[in-house]
Assembly symmetry: C2
């Protein structure tokens, strides 16, 4: 069960001028569920994306990278149930063919279509089922379909994930809305398992490309479920330019700061939703590391904690097992770490003081802060001023069950 | 339950001339179980060790490193139940005090004693209980106590681990006997969670130091249970020089090759025993990676597979989930990996051919090789001639249970 995560309602996700969404049941892996999502963008929209660093980047990821070189994108097509990864030339051809089908339906070129796939790896994409379902998908296109779109891209997700903000820039209300999916094989590196953010602000391509990385680095690149980076991770940022506002083109301006803030808020909420719905999650964990010599160092410590199976099973048990946390910090590969400077807080309780058990620590205080479904850990390394935050979940019996039975 | 792993019998573990072992119930963590082990070495014995790379190296590890600078060691003392880690100056003093107590009992100096601890982290070592139990430990000292010694160092181990070989060198029968413990918080880096190998051959200190690293790198450094490197990992190699054989001092000689071979056999069997008894293990997995550009590259790929929670849960389910294996290979960080050159074999079945599903692969063949309790994976990267092998186990419900309930 997801941790404190309710499905978004239609009124929660504001339409973004210039974006329409449709969905259909294509029967790609299982019949009777929505598994195809189409997003149509108004002419003039700009799109930027970041993608998985896994060597086996899926066929649609390879095609997205190619089509994004031009930046003129009119549609995004997403299928769930099949990842179209490890499928070689046949997989590339199938992804291309799906772009051709969309182009034919919408009256654009195949190069203006971005394809995305998520699901089982190493099986061929039944592209003919996508072609057959596309007209139904087009028939449902609407600006208020964000919730349905969020549902149509789910695989083992138990809750659809969406977030929305409005921000006033120069007196104009600008909208940012995003959806995401992904609950396992999840430690995004540059991006996450399918997330789409759209704004009606106008942005030049170079700034959009800069923003998509900046936003990913403080949101999707800071969440982990199991430490495994998917072959299909994709995070796409869309700027339709439909708001009655001049293009935001100055990175030092107030407009940019406001827009960037709204984008990060939406992206962080989506990233947190992913950890809340992590496979088998019973706890939502925030790991904050401060006092690091650099941000990569802070991230290494945060991930060493967040990905340790021993830490994650202790979190599942609500067990303040401080030794495992100490072990995880020590395994992050921080060069010449002065362990006697390390502090660790569980919630508001100082548990590790100068590298040892805090003098005032009492087990019942640790047990108290470990009991709730939301737990915060804070590490201070005492080496500098860099800091970062990572979100994750625990490892439960249910995690093993879900992943032992995934294909059966 | 451990996978195909029987406890060693007394006749399986040959005495090593110059080594005596004793044990006692010190009640360090729980009453009524053997938790203290003492090893007495004959004068002239040489000892070398490698230890954890975790920043929070335990107090006894710090003292071992110091005492090993001289190399003249007469005794090893091991306690289970408490790791004496994250215990600061008090912990160092407690470990020192245990050396003093052993020195008093055996008539040597404290610097000639190596202390080892394994168990719960961040709790103070009850050294007075060790002092109280030492006379009983000394009273049991005997050359044929290897089996009891293996039992006395266990924590969550379900089976004691020991291995022994005899090898004829220049007409003299030379013995190698070793014991080890460790089933969780286990991905040794330079060493493993407490392993002791002794031989009656004579070796100069520099060669012994070279050998301990060489042996560790093809045995304990190639096993992983959960990817978490313990704070107390220690692997010690002892050469008593009691065999009627000249010192083995030529690294290019046949004597060295024979002795090295026997040491590696014993160490590999112990390392494999650790994976077979990995926490919650139902499968014993051998991951072989060949065709790598370098050995670190081969190791990175092998560990990416062996530590992936998604791969480990699929192994638990006997599910030939090829996509997860592909994902794991792709996450090893191999620069510019040509995915179309990658081959993967499950047992004798070619499952991934040139980066995609093998044309002749049938699911029932994959299911057949995944069904047994022992599974072999072989990856060929097509980049060079380097290769390595890693041993691991699966992730089961029992793993979560053991680690969620460890302290309760």
């Amino acid at each position: 069960m997801a941790v404190n995560l309710a499905p978004p309602q239609a009124e929660d996700l504001y339409p973004v001028a210039g974006v329409e969404l449709g969905f259909a049941e294509a029967g790609i892996r299982k019949a009777g569920r929505r598994d195809l999502m189409l997003m149509r963008l108004a002419p003039g929209s700009r799109v930027a994306g970041v993608f998985t660093q896994n060597s086996f980047a899926a066929a649609p990821v390879q095609i997205c990278r190619e089509h994004l070189r031009t930046g003129a994108i009119r549609a995004l097509l997403v299928n769930a149930g099949n990842a179209n990864c490890g499928t070689g030339a046949t997989g590339l051809a199938a992804a291309q063919r799906s772009c051709v089908a969309v182009a034919r339906e919408l009256g654009c070129t195949p190069q203006e279509v971005l394809p995305f796939s998520t699901g089982v790896i190493l099986e061929h994409l039944p592209v003919e089922r996508i072609e057959a379902a596309l007209p139904a998908c087009v028939a449902t296109l609407g600006a208020d379909r964000w919730c349905e779109a969020a549902s149509a891209i789910m695989t083992t997700d138990t809750v659809p994930k969406g977030s929305s903000r409005r921000v006033l820039i120069d007196g104009v209300s600008v909208t940012v809305t995003g959806i995401a999916k992904g609950v396992g094989m999840l430690q995004p590196n540059m991006a996450t398992m399918l997330a789409y953010l759209a704004t009606d602000a106008a942005l030049p391509q170079d700034l959009l490309q800069h923003l998509v990385k900046e936003v990913a680095d403080v949101s999707f690149n800071r969440v982990t479920v199991d430490g495994d980076t998917s072959t299909n991770d994709s995070f796409v940022l869309i700027a339709t330019g439909q708001a009655r506002l001049a293009a935001v083109s100055d990175r030092s301006g107030a407009q940019y700061a406001l827009l960037r803030g709204a984008l990060i808020e939406v992206a962080q909420q989506l990233a947190q939703s992913i950890a809340r719905d992590g496979e088998g999650a019973t706890k939502f964990i925030t790991v904050n590391v401060a006092g690091a010599a650099s941000e990569p160092e802070a991230l290494a410590v945060a991930r060493a904690i967040a990905n340790s199976p021993l830490v994650k099973t202790a979190l599942f048990a609500s067990d303040p097992n401080l030794g495992r946390l100490l072990m995880a910090i020590g395994n992050a590969g921080v060069p010449d770490l002065d362990t006697s400077a390390v502090q660790l807080y569980l919630g508001d309780v100082h548990v590790i003081e100068n590298g040892g058990r805090a003098a005032a620590y009492r087990e019942e205080d640790g047990a108290r802060v470990m009991a709730p479904a939301e737990i915060s850990l804070r590490v201070e390394l005492g080496r500098g001023t860099a800091a970062t935050t990572v979100w994750t979940c625990d490892f439960s019996y249910e995690y093993v069950k879900i992943n032992a039975e995934y294909r059966t």
